[in-house]
């Protein structure tokens, strides 16, 4: 137990944890949106993210990305990567809804069936990429070289950490506004509260469901870009562990609650980094799940409770 190290550089470890957790949070939003409306866990969401990471790499390869590009090219690469990632992930999410959900929903299948079809789609997608792209770690150019932006005491904050956390906060804020202020958002909340009443009021339920899958996919695509910028590698099963962590983050914050997903993600990242500092990296998953269990013992609905439908209240 290396307490001296943790206390000595508490600020640095917290910053590391927050920037790790920001990616969890963005993926967690996808789980939470679908759960909030359908009360179903979309286990294929991890593959929506995985496809995003590959789309970003593909776009970078097409654009001829190199290590440490000049500033203009860098912005171009980031924007190009974002468009590719968001488009691929969004399209995948909508396709998943079409293939694994819509028909079953029309037939009023019990919730367990959706769980299985989602896991099925997830396996098909990840194995397809395993066969197509190979099972090795796929490297990519270092598009955004690390630069220390500012230093507070012995804590340094670099441009990637700043980008990840700020991007996550901005997207979270935008999504929150979208759900709470726009007409589409009102539809989403209405269906989340009571699908039947919403239908009677003239809300098109199918369109709302496609919309939430699309929103989750878009956020996962953005998370894929941030992940690639920060970690510089991907692989066919990249979504598995990350998806599990993001799902944990969503449950930790209160599944179905957008702000909860953000809080859960950031908290999970910080807990993992603290635990890895105290012991070794091999223990970070253990610590993450211990925290989850302890929180659920005292707050069974997560830190902020389930409330997509009641988000306004």
């Amino acid at each position: 137990m290396n307490f001296a190290e943790l206390i000595g550089h508490l600020g640095q470890h917290t910053v590391d944890g927050l920037s790790k957790g920001a990616i969890y949070a963005l993926v967690a939003l996808g789980y939470t949106l679908v759960y909030g409306v359908l009360k179903l866990i979309n286990f294929a969401h991890s593959e929506v993210f995985m496809i995003g990471t590959f789309a970003v790499v593909g776009a970078w390869t097409l654009m001829g990305a190199t290590d440490n590009p000049p500033f203009g090219t860098m912005i171009l690469l980031l924007v190009g990567g974002l468009i590719a990632g968001v488009a691929a992930s969004g399209a995948t999410a909508v396709a998943v809804e079409r293939i694994a959900y819509r028909r079953l929903r029309r037939m009023n299948a019990p919730p367990l069936i959706f769980l299985i079809t989602a896991i099925g789609v997830s396996l098909v997608l990840s194995e397809t990429f395993g066969l197509w792209q190979g099972r090795l770690v796929k490297g990519m150019p270092n598009v955004l070289p690390r630069k220390v932006v500012f230093t507070i005491g012995n804590t340094t904050i670099d441009n990637r950490q700043l980008l990840t956390v700020v991007a996550a906060l901005v997207m979270m804020f935008a999504l929150d506004q979208f759900i709470n202020r726009t007409r589409y958002g009102r539809g989403v909340r209405a269906v989340a509260q009571s699908p039947d009443t919403a239908a009677l009021m003239g809300v098109n339920k199918d369109r709302v469901i496609v919309l939430i899958f699309l929103l989750g996919g878009l956020l996962a695509g953005a998370a894929a870009l941030l992940y690639n910028v920060r970690y510089g590698n991907t692989r066919f099963n990249v979504g598995f562990l990350l998806g599990l962590k993001a799902f944990t983050a969503a449950v930790l914050g209160g599944i179905g609650n957008l702000r909860g997903a953000l809080l859960g993600g950031l908290l999970l990242g910080v807990v993992e980094v603290y635990a890895a500092t105290l012991t070794s990296s091999a223990w970070e998953d253990v610590a993450a799940f211990v925290v989850l269990v302890v929180v659920l013992l005292f707050r069974p609905t997560g830190l902020l409770g389930e409330s997509l439908g009641r988000a306004r209240a």
């Binding site: 190290e5 000595g8 550089h9 640095q12 470890h13 590391d16 944890g17 920037s19 790790k20 290590d67 099972r135 090795l136 770690v137 796929k138 490297g139 990519m140 150019p141 270092n142 070289p145 690390r146 970690y231 510089g232 590698n233 692989r235 099963n237 990249v238 562990l241 990350l242 993992e272 980094v273 890895a276 500092t277 070794s280 990296s281 091999a282 970070e284 998953d285």
Partner: protein, 385 residues
């Protein structure tokens, strides 16, 4: 109608049972005559290791070496029907175990080449020992494998005890490290070799243990930075090491990266990209150009590339068994005795096993390899102090 159907089904089942029993008897009888025949030199050899998956690049050259040896043997000895069966374990002990049980149960197998990795070797050694099957590993280097008194396990490479001693000398004398940082991946192999290095170094600036399939190394990198390490030694395989090294370099850490034979894999420079330049590994394996006989030329001719990591060792492992078959050692017991008393010059080194199944320690050679222009290049031969 229904009763007739049941009866017919029963009849079919009975027929299948009889046929199966007859089949068993037949193969058993075949084995007997095989043992009795004077000039028999046929047999089946099993090979297991990671043939696919993230770490397969470490194994495939040695499989090529084995296949080359068998091809040459068959060409020189037309009457000998040697059959090689390759089993893919993806390097995982839990996948290697059912395979071991299957091989052990099939009396046609007289010898096993493998396991390629230490974890899978450790898991399957007791099964092969109970079946009296000899194992010759081309690349499993964990020290503990030969320390357990297993009768079946042999290896034609040096162990990690020797390798870590050489690595320690390299860290101290060549790299002149003041603050070495050690990381392992929690596997039999990674933990073993890092334990040896730590013991040899005495004090380290810091340490961490990562997990199989881990992809983000924020915490590890933060530890390396806080420790102010000038050398990072990593015990493990490419799948985790390539992203780790990449993220380390991207985070601005310039410490020298030292790996071990687990990273001496063509996929490591590819996976790490530009971050890999200058990374060094130690390996108890010979550079292709140093291998004896016509091996390098033959390998180049057959596969169109120079023999990779453990190619020569794979060739040697297969040669021991093939020479045994030629000498008429077609039962498991005879083959085991043959390997135990083997004493000949191989292409990688002079091969003679000691009591524990390790190759004679004075004959082990350890080399350092460095990544230059995205490829492994031999750097220097290490002295074992």
């Amino acid at each position: 109608m229904r009763r007739k159907f049941v009866r017919a089904l029963g009849g079919v089942a009975l027929a299948v049972a009889v046929a199966a029993a007859a089949g068993c008897q037949e193969s058993g009888g075949g084995g007997d005559t095989g043992g009795g025949g004077a000039q028999n030199c046929s047999g089946k050899i099993a090979l297991f290791g990671a043939l696919t998956g993230g770490d397969a690049g470490l194994v495939l050259p040695s499989v090529n070496g084995v296949e080359l040896a068998i091809e040459q043997f068959k060409a020189a000895n037309q009457g000998c029907n040697v059959e090689l069966t390759k089993f893919d374990t993806q390097g995982a002990p839990d996948q290697a175990t059912p395979i071991a049980n299957r091989v052990a149960a099939d009396q046609g197998y007289v010898a096993v080449i493998g396991g390629a990795f230490s974890g899978e070797s450790k898991a399957t050694m007791p099964i092969y020992e109970a079946a009296g099957l000899v194992m010759i590993s081309q690349s499993a280097t964990a020290t503990e494998l030969t320390a357990a008194g297993n009768k079946s396990f042999h290896r034609v490479v040096g162990n990690d005890g020797t390798q870590s001693a050489a690595a320690v000398a390299y860290i101290k004398n060549v790299l002149k490290a003041a603050k070495p940082f050690v990381i392992d991946d929690g596997t039999t192999y990674g933990q073993g070799i890092i334990a040896g290095v730590k013991k040899g170094l005495g004090t380290v600036a810091g340490e961490d243990r990562v997990q199989k399939d881990q992809q983000n190394f924020d915490a590890t990198i933060s530890k390396i930075r806080q420790a102010g390490a000038d050398v990072v030694a990593y015990g493990g395989y490419t799948n985790e090491a390539a992203p780790l090294l990449k993220q380390m370099r991207a985070a601005g850490i310039t410490a020298k990266f030292l790996g071990f034979d687990g990273l001496y894999d063509p996929n490591f420079p590819t996976g790490a990209g530009a971050a890999g330049e200058g990374a060094v590994v130690t390996c108890p394996c010979l550079p292709a150009s140093e291998a004896g006989g016509t091996f390098s030329a033959d390998y180049q001719k057959k596969y169109g590339q120079p023999p990779g990591n453990y190619g020569a060792e794979g060739f040697d492992a297969a040669t021991i068994i093939l020479e045994g078959l030629k000498a008429g050692k077609v039962t498991r017991a005879d083959m085991l005795a043959w390997v135990d008393s083997y004493d000949k010059q191989g292409v990688s080194k002079a091969i003679k096993f000691d009591q524990t199944g390790d190759v004679d320690k004075s004959k082990v050679v350890i080399w350092a390899y460095e990544i230059k222009d995205g490829e492994w290049k031999p750097q220097q031969k290490l002295t074992i102090s």
